[in-house]
């Protein structure tokens, strides 16, 4: 599949997955992949603390857009911003002619009372803002780093819940519009991220079906992160490998090399089994990203992942099924 076509399939891409699977890194890599295709990207951070800015070696993001990676040559720009419920509520109230009361509403904690009266209201304000960005943002692609853990589902499911709780008024209208966006694959798709491990795979499958059944979102390919890249020669005993190049190893070196090879082979076998299990249980195309053996991730690693992502997307068939199909 052409990477540009993949990135243009929907304006909004929501990257979701449980904590620790590398969701933020994948969101950053997607943005850089877009930039390198000449498509400008806006990265949206929904959680307070996130490593997103650090991946670009930039200061923490704020509610006002800033540049994460400038345009250079044929590369487009990557920008970033946060969306917090309090800021989104303020903006919402101001847009609805309630500017005078809005600051007090947030500062007195009345926002919490409102959120109590209608749970999901915070999520809907964030999603509502994302929907507004879909229309108004100058960026070609809006990439959302969704909240971690089980919250990603609650976050997207909250729309349905809110429609039940709030049956009239502007919030109801807002929820309907958000649902329209979420359930239209031409406008919004969800990229789920997982690790090639047992529990993350189980949870990913569960999340995929819940999102499909209950929200009706279009699911993009699944990103399997931290896959050991293939490395030939790990089956050769260290002594034999050394002999072949005329080297002699100390017993300690032999032990360390053999131990490391054994560890990696075992982990690779386990990863392969989990990747196969994921393919069996969830008929969505998979994009594999390699483990990055660096102490701290930065722009160089993000670009490396963006390149891999591009290659993986290019390897996809042209038509991406939009439904995970029968269970």
């Amino acid at each position: 599949m052409d990477p540009g076509q993949f990135l243009r399939a929907s304006r909004v891409i929501i990257v979701a997955g449980k904590g620790g699977v590398g969701k933020t890194t994948v969101a950053a890599a997607l943005a850089r992949m877009a930039a390198r295709e000449g498509l400008s990207a806006l990265l949206v951070q929904v959680e307070q603390a996130s490593a997103l800015a650090a991946l670009f070696r930039r200061p923490q993001l704020s509610y006002v857009e800033s540049t994460l990676a400038p345009a250079a040559g044929t590369e487009a720009e990557v920008r970033g911003r946060t969306i917090t419920p309090d800021d989104a509520l303020l903006e919402y109230l101001e847009d609805h002619g309630l500017r005078r009361i809005s600051r007090r509403l947030v500062s007195t904690g009345a926002m919490d009372v409102v959120a109590t009266a209608a749970p999901g209201i915070k999520d809907i304000l964030i999603l509502g803002k994302i929907k507004a960005l879909e229309r108004s943002s100058g960026a070609d692609v809006v990439i959302v780093d969704a909240p971690a853990a089980g919250h990603a589902i609650t976050f997207l499911l909250s729309v349905r819940g809110l429609l039940d709780a709030v049956r009239v008024g502007p919030i109801n209208a807002q929820a309907r519009e958000v649902l329209d966006m979420l359930s239209d694959p031409a406008r919004c798709s969800v990229v789920l991220v997982t690790l090639p491990e047992e529990t993350p795979v189980n949870e990913l499958v569960e999340t995929a079906f819940t999102l499909e059944d209950q929200v009706g979102v279009g699911l993009g390919p699944v990103v399997v992160n931290s896959v050991y890249p293939p490395l030939s020669g790990l089956d050769t005993p260290p002594e034999t490998a050394a002999e072949a190049v005329g080297e002699v190893l100390t017993p300690a070196e032999v032990e360390a090399l053999a131990g490391a090879a054994r560890f990696r082979r075992r982990r690779q076998d386990l990863q392969r089994a989990q990747i196969a299990r994921l393919a069996e249980r969830l008929p969505l195309p998979q994009l594999h990203l390699p483990s990055v053996f660096a102490a701290n991730l930065g722009p160089a690693e993000v670009d490396l992942l963006a390149d891999t992502l591009r290659a993986e997307v290019t390897g996809l068939p042209d038509v991406v099924p939009s439904s995970p199909g029968p269970r």
């Binding site: 620790g20 009361i101 749970p119 049956r167 919030i171 790990l234 050394a242 090879a261 982990r267």
Partner: protein, 362 residues
């Protein structure tokens, strides 16, 4: 409880163990392993999970769990029980216990605003976890209650959760809304009127009416709730309660763990032990840089691959060690227990027992 205790004396003597940490670090499995160990030492232990992902049931190798403790059969002198917190039924039970009569209980349980807050409100889950913990502890059926906290950054809301509800009850707006009839609107100040109008405008008058009906129905029960909340809070601060921080050695998980440590300190709670799961092995004493050079020198040969792999693994292991040094200093003198990468995720008692081996006998 003093942080100098080791893990052994914690499972042997603590009355409550709270496992906290970010998502995906193995809190549920660790909690189950601690409860299992207590049962093996002859104690009556119950493990409570807040995670709706059924992970505890999977870990214990059983089909499902409910809001009341199920006994896990096994060959040990003590008892092992488990339950999965059902926020809504726990809240319902609390309402039933505090309501003056059936009519009051019925009015509250049937209220739509109540159904919203009891099922979905963030913070309610943490509040009910504290409540369940208290109930199990007070019931006298268990020597040790182990609980894992929700997998969110605000998991430590758990500590102040019960106070937050009582604060809510003390809130000016709440008192205003509690005025018996809509006539209050004429009496209260303009700002309050504007607030009520705004809320109606945003969420619709229906939601507001539900809320008002709830607050009216709730009248008279605040005192009971407040008292109970104070007792839950006292239990969490009790010296028989210990907080165990669970982490993974990844850089993001470690910074989350540091965040938790700070949050606990703010509540005057110290970490009793730090358990780090999924540690990579550190092979030999050689340096990763030297391995990398050799990998380059022998690039394209099997020896080159073997060195490249060793360099990767040593880089990861050294990075993990570096990430943990600061965290270990933060929680000192609490002991740090490291659990290696395991080949399989835990989904039966045998594999759970292997985690216990790593925690207690290695």
């Amino acid at each position: 409880m003093k942080p100098i205790d080791d893990l052994d004396s914690l499972v042997g003597h603590a009355r409550v163990l709270v496992c906290c940490g970010s998502g995906g670090v193995g809190k549920t499995t660790t909690g189950a392993a601690l409860a299992l160990e207590a049962a093996r030492r002859g104690r009556r232990a119950v493990v409570v999970t807040i995670d709706p992902a059924k992970r505890l049931a999977d870990t214990l190798g059983i089909g499902s769990l409910t809001n009341t403790p199920s006994r896990i059969a096994g060959e040990w002198p003590g008892e092992l029980w488990a339950l999965m917190l059902d926020t809504k039924s726990t809240f319902d039970d609390l309402v039933l216990a505090h309501a003056a009569d059936d009519d009051q209980a019925r009015r509250i349980l049937g209220n739509r605003f109540y159904r919203n807050i009891s099922g979905a409100l963030s913070g309610t889950q943490e509040y009910m976890a504290g409540e369940k913990l208290y109930e199990l502890h007070e019931g006298g059926d268990f020597d040790l209650v182990v609980v894992d906290t929700p997998p969110t950054r605000n998991a430590l809301d758990f500590i102040g959760a019960s106070r937050r509800l009582t604060n809510f009850l003390d809130h000016r707006l709440y008192r205003m809304l509690m005025s018996p009839t809509r006539a209050y609107l004429r009496a209260v100040n303009l700002a309050a009127q504007a607030f009520v109008r705004t809320v109606s405008k945003v969420v619709g008058g229906e939601v507001l009416d539900d809320a008002l009906a709830f607050f009216r129905a709730f009248e008279g029960m605040e005192e009971g709730f407040r008292e109970r909340a104070a007792r839950v809070e006292a239990l969490l601060a009790d010296e028989g309660t210990a907080f165990i921080l669970v982490a993974a050695p990844r850089v993001d998980a470690v910074s989350e763990a540091s965040f938790f440590t700070t949050k606990l300190e703010e509540s005057k709670i110290s970490v009793a032990a730090l358990i780090v799961n999924r540690m990579h092995p550190r092979l030999g004493t050689g340096r990763a840089e030297a391995d990398r050079e050799r990998a380059q020198r022998f690039a394209g040969t099997d020896l080159g691959s073997l060195y490249a792999n060793l360099a990767d693994l040593r880089t990861v292991a050294d990075g993990e060690k570096a990430h943990l040094t600061e965290l270990a200093a933060n929680v000192a003198p609490a002991p740090v227990v490291r659990v290696p990468f395991l080949d399989h995720d835990v989904h039966d008692l045998d594999s759970l027992a292997r985690i216990s081996e790593h925690l207690f006998r290695s």
